[in-house]
C-alpha cells in the first residue's frame, strides 16, 4: 500500500526549448528565454516580455506527428509535445500505457483558440469555428493526451490556477500511494493568451522588463508558456520493469492561504503550511535547494520569503526562482519546475536567479546568483496560485 513513488520519465517544452536537454543547457549557461513574443497575438506583443515557446502551432504539429493534424489548440499541442518526450524517456510499453492514468493541470485551457475566433464567430455565426471552440474547456487537452497515449486508466484534470500542475503531480503520488494505480502521466500545460496577458496587466503585476525574482527592486512577473509531464510510478512497478529512476517524490502538501482571492498573506501562511505538510511527510530530510515559486511580484516574493523563513528558521536552504528563465507559465509552472528540480538532483546543479542587483535575503541567506555545481539530494518546489492555492513538492534522489 504505502510504497514509494518514483519518477521514471520526463518531458518538457518551454521558452528554453523542447526537451529536457535543451532546457538543462539553457539553465546551466544562465540563458533566459524571456524575450518579446513573436507568436502571441496581442497588442502587448511588442511591449511585454514573455517566456514564449518559439514554435508556431504548425511547427508544434510537425514535431508531434500525425496525431496532431486536426488539433488547433496551442495549449494541447504544447502538452502533447511534452508528453511525447516523457513517454519516450520512460520506455513504457503500450500495455502499460493502456492501463496508465493521465492527470493534467491547466489554468486557462484552450482560451488561446477561443479568443482568436469568438469575435469573428459573433459577427458571422459561421459554424466552421466550431473546431476552435471545442478545445475551450480544461478537459480537452487531457482527453487528447489520453487519446494520444491510448491510455484507458482514467483521466483527471486539475485547474487551481498557478498551482494546477504541481497539484497534478501531488494527485498522481496520492493515487499511487493508495494503490489505486501503478503508472500515472502527470503534469500540465498552458499557452500564452491575450486573456492572461491582459488579466495580469490589469492587476498591474507585469514587469515591463525581463523580470528579476528575489531582487529587492523587483517590478513584477513576465508571463510564459509551456508544458511538462512526469511519468510517476510505484517503486515496485518501476523496479520490476527495470525502469530508469530519476528521483522519488517523498513529500507533498496542499494548503489554502484563506487570505484573498489573488494576493498572498504577508506572512505566507498557506505557503508555510504546504511546505510543512510536505516536510512532515518526507520525515528526516535535509533540503539542499528550494525551487521557489518566486514570480517576481512584490507580494509573492516577500510573502514566500517570510514563509520560508518561518519554516526553516536560521537554516535556510539555497533557493532561487527559475521564472526569470521561463516566465510564469501559470498552470504548467509546477510541472516545469518539477523537471528542473529533478535535473538539479540528477545533474548536481542548482540554478540561479537572473538579473539580481540587490538580492532579497531570507534571514541572512541570499538567493542563488550563479550556477552552483554541487551534489543535490533533496529539492523542495513551491507553487502558489490564485484562490490561495499553495502546493509544495519534495523530490529526493
Amino acid at each position: 500500500m504505502a510504497g514509494k513513488v518514483v519518477v521514471t520519465g520526463w518531458g518538457i517544452v518551454s521558452a528554453l526549448g523542447f526537451g529536457v536537454e535543451e532546457n538543462f543547457q539553457a539553465l546551466k549557461s544562465a540563458k533566459s528565454g524571456v524575450k518579446l513574443p513573436e507568436i502571441l497575438d496581442s497588442n502587448y506583443g511588442n511591449s511585454k516580455y514573455c517566456g514564449e515557446v518559439r514554435y508556431t502551432d504548425h511547427e508544434l504539429r510537425e514535431l508531434i506527428g500525425d496525431f496532431a493534424k486536426n488539433i488547433y489548440c496551442r495549449t494541447t499541442l504544447l502538452g502533447l509535445l511534452a508528453v511525447k518526450e516523457a513517454i519516450s524517456s520512460s520506455n513504457l510499453t503500450d500495455a502499460i500505457l493502456a492501463a496508465s492514468k493521465v492527470i493534467n493541470g491547466t489554468s486557462v485551457g484552450g482560451m488561446v483558440s477561443t479568443e482568436k475566433y469568438h469575435k469573428l464567430y459573433t459577427q458571422n455565426k459561421n459554424s466552421e469555428y466550431k473546431k476552435f471552440f471545442k478545445s475551450h474547456d480544461c478537459g480537452y487537452s487531457t482527453d487528447k493526451i489520453a487519446e494520444y497515449l491510448n491510455s484507458k486508466g482514467g483521466t483527471i484534470t486539475i485547474s487551481t490556477a498557478c498551482s494546477s500542475s504541481a497539484n497534478s503531480i501531488m494527485q498522481a503520488a496520492r493515487y499511487i500511494k493508495a494503490g489505486k494505480c501503478d503508472v500515472v502521466i502527470a503534469g500540465g500545460t498552458d499557452a500564452l493568451s491575450k486573456f492572461t496577458i491582459n488579466g495580469f496587466n490589469s492587476l498591474k503585476i507585469l514587469d515591463d522588463q525581463p523580470c528579476k525574482p528575489f531582487d529587492l527592486n523587483r517590478q513584477g512577473l513576465n508571463l510564459g508558456e509551456g508544458a511538462a509531464y512526469l511519468v510517476l510510478e510505484s517503486e515496485e512497478h518501476a523496479l520490476q520493469r527495470g525502469a530508469n529512476i530519476l528521483g522519488q517524490v517523498v513529500g507533498y502538501g496542499n494548503a489554502n492561504d484563506a487570505h484573498h482571492q489573488t494576493a498572498s498573506s504577508p506572512e505566507g501562511r498557506g505557503a508555510g503550511l504546504a511546505m510543512t505538510k510536505a516536510l512532515n511527510m518526507a520525515g528526516n530530510i535535509i533540503i539542499d535547494y528550494i525551487n521557489a515559486h518566486g514570480t517576481g511580484t512584490n507580494n509573492n516574493d516577500s510573502s514566500e520569503s517570510t514563509a520560508i523563513q518561518n519554516v526553516f528558521g536560521e537554516n535556510i536552504p539555497q533557493f532561487s526562482s527559475t521564472k526569470a528563465f521561463t516566465g510564469h507559465t501559470l498552470g504548467a509552472a509546477g510541472a516545469i519546475e518539477a523537471v528542473y528540480s529533478l535535473l538539479s538532483i540528477n545533474k548536481g546543479v542548482r540554478f540561479p536567479c537572473l538579473r539580481i542587483e540587490e538580492p532579497l535575503e531570507i534571514s541572512s541567506s541570499s538567493p542563488i546568483l550563479e550556477v552552483i555545481e554541487s551534489e543535490t539530494s533533496a529539492v523542495l518546489s513551491n507553487s502558489l496560485g490564485f484562490g490561495g492555492n499553495c502546493t509544495s513538492l519534495i523530490f529526493n534522489k
Binding site: 502587448y44 469568438h118 483521466t155 483527471i156 493515487y175 496587466n201 489554502n256 482571492q261 490564485f386 490561495g388
Partner: protein, 342 residues
C-alpha cells in the same frame, strides 16, 4: 475504507434548495433551457459580498454553507469542487472587455474571479479553511474527480470532506454548447436539454450521522457505444458482495433521446422489475450533472421514497437499500456509483 454522506445541498432547475423542497417544481422563468432556481441570497450571504459574485459562485457558496451547517461542520478536512466550465460569466465579461477596448486599460475584477478555482477558493476564504483545496475541471468527470478525491482524503485519515459539482449557463455559453452539440435549448430535440446547478455533499468516515453510504464508484473513459453494461453492473455488484436482487432501483442519466448511448436502453429493458429514475428530466445536461444525480439518489434513499415524476416505469419499491447511479456524458464518460442505506 468506508465513505458516508452526512449532508447534501443542491440548487437546481427544480426546487431542491431550502425548507420548501419539491423536486417536481420547475423554474417558471421562460429561458428555453433548464435554469436553476436560485434562493434569495440575502439570508445566506452578505449582500455586499453577494453583489460582487457571479451566479456560479453564489450557487456554490450557498450550497456549501448549507451543507456545512446541516452537517454541523465548521472546518472541513478538505474542499474538492468539480466544475466543467468554471466561472463563465466572469470569463466572458473580461473577454468582452478585452475585445471592446481592443486590449485597453481594464478593471481586474472579472479576471480575478474568472479562474476555475474561484468557487473552492471563495468557500475556503469565507470559512477560513486552510486545508487542501482542489478544483477539477475534467469534462464529464469533473465531479467524479472531486468525489474520488474526497474518498481518497478519507482514506488518508482526514474527515468531513466537502465536495461538490457546479456549472452555470450563460447566454453566450448555451449558444456555443449548442453549436458543439453538447446540449442546447428545449426546442432543439436532437441534443440534450442544457441545464445547470450546484450540488454539495459532506463526506465522512463516521456512520453515526450518515444518510447514505457510498459503496463504490467506477469511471470509464472511452467510446460508450458498445458497452455490455449489464455485465459491468453485475461485476460491480459482485465485487461488493451484492447481486442484482439487492438493487432497489436505478438512477439513470439518460436524456431520453434517440441518440442516447444504447446501454441506457439495455438498463431499462433488463431492470424492468425495478424503478428507473431519469434525473436529467429535472436537471438537464451539463458536465457536472452526476452531482445532481447523486443528490437525487441520496434524496430517494434518505426519504425512502421514489420520485414518481421521473420514474420511467410503474415499478415501486417498498424499501430502498441499494441504488445504482449511472451517468454518461457525450458518449465518452461513463460513471457508476453504488450507494446503500447505512
Amino acid at each position: 475504507m468506508k465513505a458516508f454522506i452526512s449532508a447534501t445541498s443542491s440548487i437546481s432547475p427544480v426546487r431542491s434548495f431550502g425548507v420548501e423542497k419539491d423536486l417536481t417544481q420547475f423554474n417558471e422563468e421562460e429561458v428555453g433551457y433548464l435554469k436553476a432556481i436560485e434562493p434569495s441570497y440575502r439570508s445566506i450571504l452578505n449582500p455586499k459580498m453577494a453583489r460582487r459574485m457571479a451566479r456560479v459562485i453564489k450557487m456554490g457558496m450557498a450550497t456549501a454553507l448549507d451543507c456545512l451547517s446541516s452537517a454541523k461542520v465548521e472546518n472541513p478536512g478538505a474542499i474538492s469542487i468539480g466544475t466543467g466550465l468554471g466561472c463563465l460569466e466572469d470569463t466572458y465579461k473580461f473577454f468582452k472587455q478585452i475585445d471592446d477596448s481592443d486590449e485597453g486599460l481594464l478593471s481586474p475584477t472579472s479576471f480575478i474571479q474568472s479562474t476555475h478555482n474561484t468557487i473552492a477558493g471563495q468557500i475556503a476564504l469565507f470559512i477560513g479553511c486552510e486545508n487542501q483545496n482542489f478544483t477539477f475541471s475534467n469534462r464529464g468527470f469533473s465531479f467524479e474527480n472531486a468525489l474520488e478525491d474526497g474518498i481518497l482524503k478519507l482514506a488518508e485519515g482526514d474527515d468531513d470532506i466537502l465536495i461538490g459539482g457546479i456549472d452555470e449557463i450563460t447566454s453566450e455559453s448555451i449558444e456555443l454548447l449548442e453549436l458543439l452539440n453538447c446540449s442546447g435549448k428545449i426546442n432543439n430535440s436532437e441534443i440534450p436539454v442544457a441545464g445547470e446547478g450546484a450540488s454539495m455533499f459532506m463526506l465522512t468516515n463516521k456512520p453515526d450521522n450518515a444518510i447514505v453510504e457510498i459503496i463504490d464508484i467506477e469511471c470509464f473513459f472511452g467510446d460508450n457505444s458498445n458497452v455490455d453494461i449489464i455485465s459491468e453492473i453485475e461485476e460491480l455488484l459482485n465485487k461488493n458482495g451484492l447481486s442484482e436482487e439487492d438493487l432497489s432501483g436505478i438512477v439513470s442519466g439518460a436524456n431520453g433521446l434517440p441518440n442516447d448511448p444504447a446501454f441506457y436502453k439495455s438498463i431499462a429493458g433488463h431492470y424492468n422489475d425495478k424503478p428507473v429514475y431519469e434525473f436529467k428530466k429535472l436537471s438537464g445536461e451539463y458536465f457536472t450533472s452526476t452531482a445532481f444525480g447523486l443528490h437525487v439518489s441520496v434524496d430517494i434513499m434518505h426519504a425512502q421514497k421514489g420520485i414518481e415524476t421521473i420514474n420511467i416505469n410503474d415499478n415501486k419499491e417498498g424499501e430502498f437499500k441499494h441504488l445504482l447511479l449511472i451517468n454518461n456524458y457525450g458518449n465518452q464518460y461513463r460513471t457508476l456509483i453504488l450507494i446503500s442505506k447505512p
